[in-house]
């Protein structure tokens, strides 16, 4: 089965400085926020995109939604190339790809009621449906009482606002939902509620979900596969369970260890990375992670590692992986 969404060699650039200044300095006027990224999502599958701030994960979401143009590479949705889609073509696509935004309350138009918000996609796309009935159906689906239709966003708690966001994303029966930090700013118990809801929606509706997050706990329980991003590139991709049990890339290992369980006696194998993520404007030579890697050897600073396949669907970019030779 061919993937629903297929991204190949995607490059997204942002201006680093004014063109005149760049020309005077003889510098590159743009930097690559997303550098040569490829992935696919099949219908009904969940992919997690994990990375810290500045890793380029949100840029990928914006590019998929057509809010930011790709510099090069291809994005195919359902077999059609969409990276160069016109405004009209995107209008149609937006019925099939929906997005959940990071800020649960801030992504809801503040002067609209919940009822107006969840039926907003119907209005935009001119669906002549019974909006009252649709609103009731959508709120029921995400577990909100029907009387919430009259509330305004500022009267909602974070978890309730998040449910409204889910309802709105599902209003047009999309085939792909992009969820940017679906649990950001929510309490632990509410996080779990939102994750359960997403998982339930997926099971019931068979949609594909792209989850973008820095929180590994989110990824672990609702994704089938995950991709770890560093400086706009994938450093490791593979089935979620496999990566959790045996990560190959040192960065993945460090991220996993930075997610401690609440047990003072648990083996405190926390790995402290030195320094911070470099700027994508000044990428390190060789392996881009070597400046923070505890296993780095001289070679890492000289030569960039290629992609190594490691069993089914599992790949990483590292000269000296920590998972040993391919087990599969």
């Amino acid at each position: 089965m061919s993937p629903l969404l297929e991204v190949e060699n995607l490059v997204v650039r942002y201006p680093a400085m004014g063109r005149v200044r760049a020309a005077l300095k003889g510098a590159e006027p743009e930097f690559e926020a997303v550098a040569d990224v490829s992935f696919g999502i099949k219908a009904g599958e969940t992919l997690g995109l994990v990375g810290e701030s500045g890793s380029g994960k949100s840029t990928i979401a914006r590019t998929l939604m057509g809010l930011k143009r790709a510099h090069s590479g291809s994005i195919r949705f359902d077999g059609r190339e969409i990276s160069d889609a016109s405004a009209q073509e995107y209008a149609r696509l937006r019925r099939e790809i929906a997005m959940m935004w990071q800020d649960p309350v801030g992504s809801l138009s503040p002067r609209l009621t919940v009822g107006a918000l969840v039926t907003e996609p119907l209005k935009i796309h001119g669906r002549r449906a019974d909006r009252r009935a649709e609103c009731k159906r959508l709120l029921e689906m995400v577990g909100l009482p029907a009387n919430f239709a009259g509330r305004f966003p500022h009267q909602l708690s974070g978890g309730q606002a998040r449910r409204v966001g889910v309802a709105r994303a599902l209003a047009l029966d999309p085939r792909l939902v992009i969820a940017d930090e679906p649990t950001a700013g929510l309490d632990m118990s509410v996080q779990a509620e939102v994750l359960n809801l997403l998982a339930e929606m997926q099971t019931r509706l068979g949609i594909a979900i792209l989850v973008i997050t820095h929180n590994l706990n989110v990824v672990r329980h609702i994704t089938d596969r995950m991709a770890i991003m560093y400086l706009g590139r994938f450093v490791e991709t593979g089935p979620t369970e496999r990566i959790f049990h045996a990560p190959c890339h040192p960065y993945t290992e460090a991220l996993l260890s930075a997610n401690p369980e609440p047990d003072p006696d648990a083996a405190q194998a926390r790995i402290t990375l030195s320094g911070e993520m470099p700027s994508p404007r000044r990428r390190p030579e060789g392996c881009e992670f070597h400046s923070r890697c505890q296993y780095a050897r001289p070679e890492c600073a000289r030569r960039a590692p290629g992609v190594t396949e490691h069993g089914p669907q599992h790949a990483f970019t590292c000269h000296f992986p920590i998972c040993g030779p391919s087990a599969a």
Binding site: D187, M188, S189, N196, N217, R220, H221, P264, T272
Partner: protein
């Protein structure tokens, strides 16, 4: 408590109200807290539990609509709640320092780091050169590379993680007895959070100050703190050493909170545990146990009688739940 002599901070039966258009909101009710010298106390709970209100009140900082409705905050035996603004200023920055969630807003954007670090030493002896040296030393200690040169830098020239290091340096420069850290790692990425936690632990061991560490992240608290206080809806529901509380949680809320931390759940599941229900209205606080409406063990007594602090597993481990009442009807 026996270690009263060691006690640095002792909060007794503290209640704080906020004035709202609907009436007084009872944000904290009868909170007890004991922080001995040189220990790290974690303050955990979900949003609305009052942990940040408590932390701010320890430094005598309350929003304009807040007021102490009862109880005392004893710092070295002196009651913070009874102090004048002048006395409070004297305490802040010298005996009590704070670091905040957002390191950007905690620093003055138009003054250099050096200028701000000199300013907070205004009470200390020594010339300008001496104070600059101390500031540079402290910056170096918190891991700012090329510290002496960075004194001339402005806050916006630092990344988020570095800014939080600067804040920690400033907070510890005056060698306080108590450091209050309000969610200091929430705004940071995971790999930076690890660094900051490690730094705090090292500095604490070196300088011997006590820390009140506010966080909603249980894993971090387990790693850094000696003791932990669990708060729910403005009340302290459980308190004890981290080991006692996290291994043998006595209060149903603590149990539920630990259960729904996804980091604990090792096997992939699509049905994570949650805590159904919502916080009670703190303007009209219901009688009895505050967690009753969300508690699966609740019985008649919980509806009428407010649970006192019963002893739980360890020597200093207490929890407010009638299930622990050994002499009672349970």
């Amino acid at each position: 408590m026996t270690e009263a002599a060691d006690s640095l901070l002792s909060v007794k039966n503290l209640s704080i109200d906020f004035g709202t258009p609907r009436g007084a909101l009872h944000a904290l009710r009868g909170v007890e807290l004991e922080v001995p010298k040189g220990r790290i106390m974690g303050l955990v709970g979900e949003s609305g539990c009052g942990k940040s209100t408590l932390a701010f009140s320890l430094a005598g900082l309350l929003p304009s609509n807040g007021r102490v409705a009862g109880g005392a905050i004893l710092l070295n035996g002196e009651d913070v709640t009874k102090m004048s603004e002048r006395e409070l200023r004297d305490i802040r920055g010298r005996r009590v320092s704070m670091i905040f969630q957002d390191p950007m807003t905690a620093l003055n954007p138009v003054a250099t780091i050096g200028r701000q670090m000199l300013d907070i030493q205004y009470r200390d002896a020594g010339g300008k050169a001496e104070k600059r040296r101390r500031a540079a030393e402290m910056l170096d200690r918190v891991g700012i590379p090329d510290a002496a040169a960075q004194l001339a830098a402005y806050p916006h020239q630092f990344s988020g993680g570095m800014r939080q290091r600067v804040c920690i340096a400033m907070a510890l420069l005056t060698k306080p007895d108590l450091l209050i850290a309000d969610e200091p790692t929430t705004a940071l990425d995971a790999t930076l959070e690890v660094q900051i936690i490690e730094l705090l632990r090292e500095l604490q061991q070196e300088m011997g100050c006590a820390i009140v560490f506010v966080s909603h992240h249980l894993g971090t608290v387990a790693e850094l703190c000696d003791d932990v206080t669990v708060m729910y809806a403005g009340e302290m529901v459980e308190r004890g050493t981290v080991r006692d509380v996290f291994h043998n949680p006595a209060h149903p809320y603590t149990q539920a909170l630990l259960e729904c931390d996804p980091a604990r759940i090792k096997d992939a599941t699509r049905q994570l545990p949650t805590i159904p229900g919502t916080l009670p209205d703190l303007v009209r606080v219901p009688p009895g146990c505050i967690f009753r409406n969300r508690c699966e063990h609740a019985w008649e007594r919980c509806a009428t009688e407010h649970p006192p602090h019963y002893a739980a597993s360890g020597p200093r481990h207490v929890a407010s739940c009638h299930l622990l009442d050994k002499e009672g009807t349970a």
